[in-house]
Symmetry: C3
Subunit: 343 residues, 3 copies
């Protein structure tokens, strides 16, 4: 058989390294597309001159473009037979990606646990994206529930990796040269800076976007994520396609501009849950909560730890979980990340 059946639970071994295929050279075309697919307006990713005023040589690719490209490459070996994408941890952006860079991905299997039903298991991988100089550009842990091919295959030894609840602020990697001393609030779009945000503060981002089938398929394909479930309407009687969770991440992050316009760069992914499935026709809204604050060593640069929640417009802002701890049915995404903001 020459086509890729994907890996099943019993195909993974703790400690093995999987090199993912199809390296991708990204350029400014990808940036233009990101602006077309999402209401992205953070100035550092929009203007070379603004990026230069922040100490960078020019505007790097949006942090989420990097995440999507690195993630997309892992799909054929990690999530083709996945039943669920369970979580993220210890994600860090390690080096900016510049137009012309070529990205490839590899994953190390760091944990395995067969489920008690014997039909599925959980696989933990640490995925790293590299540029053409073999420098790591980002790294994150993801765990997924994967089907077994053969229910009678023996269960592997259970290995559950120890994962940090969040990336410690002193482990954040700042782009070389970043300097917000001469930051221009007017060009950035808002005057609220790091010092103006308080832990516990919540922001309803007000703006909303209704998603169409064509748009999420264009976006998902752009990252060379070709998982059938996002593209094949014959999978379901209603003809809908399950929307790639990363599409909701980028949509929510872009909507958060309204209230967090100065959260210019995402530098760490502490955790995340795709709390509910998203389909075309859903109207996405978003709210944020400030979880933590930290200083950094770069001039004028502070770090804000934020919860970003995407929800259907019909659900009230600031809704999250019921008393029993289950996500409200209108919640689509609960993301925990660190962003950089001028002090």
């Amino acid at each position: 058989m020459k086509t890729n059946p994907g890996r099943f639970f019993e195909d993974y071994r703790v400690g093995e390294t999987i090199a993912h295929a199809v390296p991708r050279t990204v350029r400014m075309g990808e940036r233009a597309l990101y602006h077309m697919l999402y209401p992205a307006r953070h100035a550092l990713h929009s203007s070379d001159q603004f990026a230069q005023s922040c100490g960078l040589p020019f505007s790097p690719l949006d942090d989420m473009v990097v995440f999507h490209v690195v993630f997309g490459k892992t799909v054929p070996e990690i999530s083709l037979n996945a039943v669920a994408n369970l979580g993220y941890a210890e994600g860090r952006w390690l080096s900016p990606v510049w137009p012309g860079d070529t990205i490839r991905s590899q994953s190390e299997v760091i944990g395995l646990k067969q489920n008690s039903n014997g039909k599925t298991g959980v696989v933990w991988v640490r995925t790293t994206g590299f540029n053409q100089h073999d420098e790591a550009v980002m790294s994150y842990v993801r765990w997924v529930m994967v089907k077994k091919r053969d229910i009678d295959a023996p269960a592997p030894e259970t290995v559950i990796p120890e994962l940090a609840a969040s990336v410690p602020s002193d482990a954040l990697v700042l782009p070389k040269g970043l300097d917000f001393s001469n930051y221009d609030d007017t060009l950035a779009g808002e005057s609220h800076r790091w010092g103006d945000y308080e832990i516990g503060e919540k922001i309803d981002h007000v703006d909303r976007v209704t998603i169409e089938e064509a748009e999420h398929m264009l976006a998902t394909r752009l990252w060379q994520n070709t998982a059938k479930v996002h593209f094949d309407a014959t999978n379901r009687p209603d003809g809908k396609r399950l929307i790639y969770g990363g599409h909701v991440i980028s949509m929510a992050r872009s909507l958060s501009f309204n209230g967090l316009a100065n959260a210019q760069m995402v530098v760490a992914l502490n955790g995340g849950s795709h709390a509910g499935p998203c389909f075309a026709g859903d109207t996405i809204a978003a709210w944020s909560e400030v979880l933590d604050k930290a200083e950094t060593s770069a001039p004028g640069v502070g770090a804000l730890r934020l919860r970003l929640v995407a929800h259907r417009a019909e659900t009230q802002a600031f809704t999250l979980k019921s008393d029993s701890g289950k996500y409200d049915s209108g919640v689509l995404l609960d993301l925990d990340y660190w962003a950089l903001m001028p002090t």
Copy 2:
């Protein structure tokens, strides 16, 4: 409150200058997208070699890309609480935008008039787009009807700016070096030149395009115009989104290639009315009328003043207004502009 509520009528003062946020570096990615979003075929904006044969260093960004980028930046401060986009005047393209240029916008408030109902008022602004060298790339006057936040706020002194009925032909700014002496009709697609058009002549552009939700949202987002009304289906019971008027402008201008393939560059916007709302599912057709002709100082270059009307396919070409002066319900756009054409 950290999110942007937009400005209300009583927030504007005649004479104030508003700097708009989020500068944008545009490159060839944006040009490729313009060709994907609109049936744009004017050769000067399609081929570097054709542009060089016309005396330019290479192909500049489409004039309408410049308009959309400049306009998009003004939305958060000018039209977030606008009830209607009432008109344009004195629009001029002042310098070509080249790939790699970074565009920002600012607006001067030049007129204010509270409506007699006391609930809304008209705001006139002159918006100018600048490149990274602080050179103006285009400028236009726009007036919008804006809600008052507080109905009891006192009415400002009425100031109605004097606006030219059209840009005089001797005020048109031609790109430096433009020369149509060696113009190639075959590569351009049509053999009708400036001398072949007569004042009063009307052209039905024949081609038609049906608009989908995904497409107008992609286009509008590309210009970082994030006005909720274009993206949020929960605003209306039928789930439709009001289409950005600029999308109709670009669609009609592109359709006008068939009959006006040699109207290579748009250099002035004399006026314009978004005569009716446009929604997904509408099929757009267009017709033009030659309003005026003028010579220019550039070799082989003439100017044509054109009316461009976009209408739903169900409406006959050349329909405009009823005897009472109201636009026919099938008319979507009535635009008045100057274009450059080989003599």
Copy 3:
């Protein structure tokens, strides 16, 4: 009349050369768009470094981008009044297209045959695309059935060109410098090489994509193919638009990655039939058959002649024609091409 009515059957003369309008400079923006519109993952067209490891200076534009751009320019003169696109033959890619190249097209009329009903005729043209150095980048023969303007116009002398059943393997043109000696299977995504494929072998490509109106219109417009039938919903009572056959070609070729990931470059188009009309809502699947194999003079490079069949998901893979020789109603495309693969 200033708009283009298109050519009718009696307007063509055997031996005449038609220069097509609107040259187009293509850049990396077009490549990014190709990755967004199709699930394209062949590594040589995705990564500059991978292309360099194959002896090329960097990654050329996808072969199908070249075909679409060359083809799109011919529509106004060749197929505006076409009733059917009947076939392709003797297609060859002659030189890679690099970012920054400008493409134009011209067609020579090489055959004419009026149909017995006297209302239509078949026109054969050999179309060649050129870059800005007037080097041919690709060439192919296409024949279409075209309406007569005047049924009483006299029939031309019948000239039916002799066309090769397929491009002979020794006529394939390989990109200068191509060398698969250091080919990396892991980065390419599959380990099956030229020696692993047998004549007669069939592959079901498994993956599927449901097509939306917005997507095929975006793609078709990108190639400046503005034939009304693809864009105007008022043409048909059901509001559907006939999908450009080239969209199905690119979709099927991209889907064939799964099983043919190493078929990196398409170098010849032996023939092709748009067996059935495709509409939005159709879910496209694809299968391939190995028709022939040939060695080449380039190091480590073999050629595979492949049949690529696109069909609706409801139709079984490997379905083609009934006993009477008619295509099954679920078959959309039957394409015959040569691709290059590492030995």
